[in-house]
């Protein structure tokens, strides 16, 4: 068995999501190879080579992979796949975009967003917004898998010294080109890897009121998230969304403010170690999963919390 793991990066640095995929590959067993596909991204390959337990790093450095367009990237991975028993990526925007394309080209039924490896061909994943856990077995020759990063402890980032091997680019499909991006600028940690997350819901009433959460986040070194209701209401951008169809987070501390706790939201945060809920409705379902619940008006409680944290 040999595993190929697609490395998540921005051509400059490796993203932490990949460190959570490596342990899933280790659990499957066999050698692990990492694929760094990008442009001018040797630094990423060098970073990847330091992850302990990696047999080798494949580097595909070409303009076709500069922005990780699915059409070009899938073509590259499909060419490499016959050498592997398992091809894995993190359940991120890139992984979700590329891997099903790879799977279909290989005539394989992908296994999405696994939260446990039961054996080399059997995996557990959540369905129905986390209301059920399904254990599925694949008979496909190559297993194409996306891995839920929060379900696996991160591998160490340093200590290894794998060889870097250059692989030839598979060519430009000419189907798509990159126009531009608008990334949310934030000094705060990334939502999916933050140790503490504070999220607001419909109860926040406006986008401006999210600044109250920003202040608490700054005190705690936390990331700021939101429920779908808050995103739908236009308070904050979609990349804040925590839930079934947004981001899955599992921080040490999750603070839900003015969030009722719809199952779709719980699906994205209920694996957090400690959950705090602040809501004025004492019957809100969020209290059923909260370790600490505070029934209070958030417009009083949140500024008070910020004050208390300064002490």
């Amino acid at each position: 068995m040999t595993n190929l793991v697609l490395v998540e990066h921005d051509n400059a640095a490796l993203k932490s999501a990949t460190l959570h995929v490596v342990p899933a590959a280790q659990k499957i067993g066999g050698e692990i190879h990492l694929l760094v596909a990008g442009q001018n991204c040797r630094a990423v390959a060098e970073e990847a080579a330091k992850i302990p337990g990696i047999a080798k790093v494949l580097l595909a450095d070409d303009a076709a992979y500069a922005n990780r367009l699915a059409e070009n990237l899938a073509k590259l991975i499909v060419g490499l796949a016959p050498n592997y028993s398992h091809v894995l990526a993190a359940t991120t925007a890139t992984g979700k975009n590329v891997m099903p394309r790879v799977a279909a080209l290989l005539d394989v039924q992908q296994i999405s967003d696994i939260s446990a490896v039961d054996s080399a061909d059997t995996f557990t994943r959540t369905i129905y917004a986390g209301n059920a856990l399904a254990t599925v077995q694949s008979a496909d020759k190559i297993k194409v898998i996306t891995v839920r990063p929060t379900a696996f402890e991160a591998a160490a980032a340093t200590g290894g010294s794998a060889a870097i091997e250059t692989v030839a680019a598979a060519g430009e499909t000419g189907l798509a080109s990159f126009v531009g991006q608008e990334l949310s600028k934030s000094e705060r940690p990334e939502l999916t890897s933050a140790r503490i997350v504070i999220s607001g819901g419909r109860g926040m009433q406006s986008g401006d009121n999210f600044h109250m959460l920003d202040k608490v986040a700054d005190k705690l070194g936390a990331a700021v998230g939101a429920s779908r209701a808050a995103v739908d209401a236009g308070f904050v951008p979609n990349d804040y969304q925590v839930g079934q169809t947004g981001k899955i987070v599992a921080p040490d501390l999750y603070i839900a403010v003015g969030i009722s706790g719809a199952i779709q939201h719980l699906a994205g945060m209920k694996d957090s170690k400690v959950i705090v809920a602040i809501n004025k409705d004492e019957d809100a379902p969020i209290f059923q999963v909260a370790d600490y619940g505070l029934v209070a008006d958030l417009f009083q409680a949140v500024p008070e919390l910020e004050q208390a944290l300064s002490k």
Partner: protein, 250 residues
């Protein structure tokens, strides 16, 4: 340009699903079913393209048992022109769905296929990408904005992890919808009545030459572990104290 939208019949998003006692799946008998919410967004986008003069015809396709015809009717009531129902009682996994849709696309020759980014039952997030792969088309997943250009291309803004990304893609295209693409309309009563007269063509996987047999074997389905219920605190001061001294997370 013809637009094809795929619509899936799923357990309504408001239903709290129950795992079957024998561990074979979740209870779907006598449960409210609806169109997958992301597919509603897909139908809305297709209908808007037609209203804006960019699309000539909107075809709604659903795959599965007899009742999927109701889901197609919903799409027709929202403004789709006609339906195609690929009838089967086989459990359909994303690869099989993509193969069946490809066969329908080969027959209908649309320039644009719109699918939801994920279905809220299996949460797989695969079918659109797989369909694009099988057709050899470009793909634009998690779309929050679509602009069809005059020159056989489209610009699509996509929701990605850190914000938004815009790509330019060649038509024909498979696009999958994200939440902010649009707000789907409610079908009006006159349109619901009109939809009853719109045609739905019935096909089978056999007729399309596709073997829809599932590839993944579901060994068991169980309820996730429950969280222990916590405590209510009386004040912010008590909360901060507990977080510092009991949970030790701040």
């Amino acid at each position: 340009m013809k637009v094809l939208v795929a619509v899936k019949r799923v357990v309504d998003y408001n239903v709290k699903v129950r795992v079957k006692a024998d561990g074979t799946g979740v209870e779907t008998a006598n449960v409210k079913m609806s169109m997958n919410p992301f597919d509603e967004i897909g139908v809305e986008e297709a209908v808007r393209l037609k209203e804006g003069g960019k699309a000539t015809e909107v075809i709604a396709v659903s795959l599965g048992p007899t009742q999927c015809a109701e889901t197609i009717r919903t799409a027709l009531a929202m403004g789709a022109d006609r339906g195609i129902h690929v009838q089967t009682d086989v459990e359909l996994q994303p690869l099989a769905v993509a193969k069946l849709l490809k066969a329908v696309v080969d027959k209908e020759q649309p320039q644009l296929c719109i699918l939801g980014k994920q279905a809220i039952d299996d949460d797989a997030n695969q079918t659109g990408q797989m369909l694009a792969a099988l057709l050899g088309w470009s793909q634009a997943t998690f779309a929050s904005k679509l602009v069809v250009n005059g020159d056989g291309t489209a610009n699509v803004t996509r929701e990605v992890d850190g914000g938004l990304e815009t790509i330019k893609v060649k038509l024909p295209l498979v696009m999958t919808t994200d939440l902010r693409l649009n707000e789907p309309r409610y079908a009006s009563l006159p349109n619901i009545m009109k939809a009853k007269k719109k045609p739905i063509e019935a096909l089978t996987p056999d007729a399309l030459g596709v073997d829809p047999a599932p590839r993944l074997k579901t060994l068991k389905v169980v309820e996730p572990p429950k969280r222990k219920s916590g405590v209510k605190v009386k004040s912010v001061a008590e909360l901060v104290d507990k977080l510092r001294n009991e949970a030790k997370v701040i």
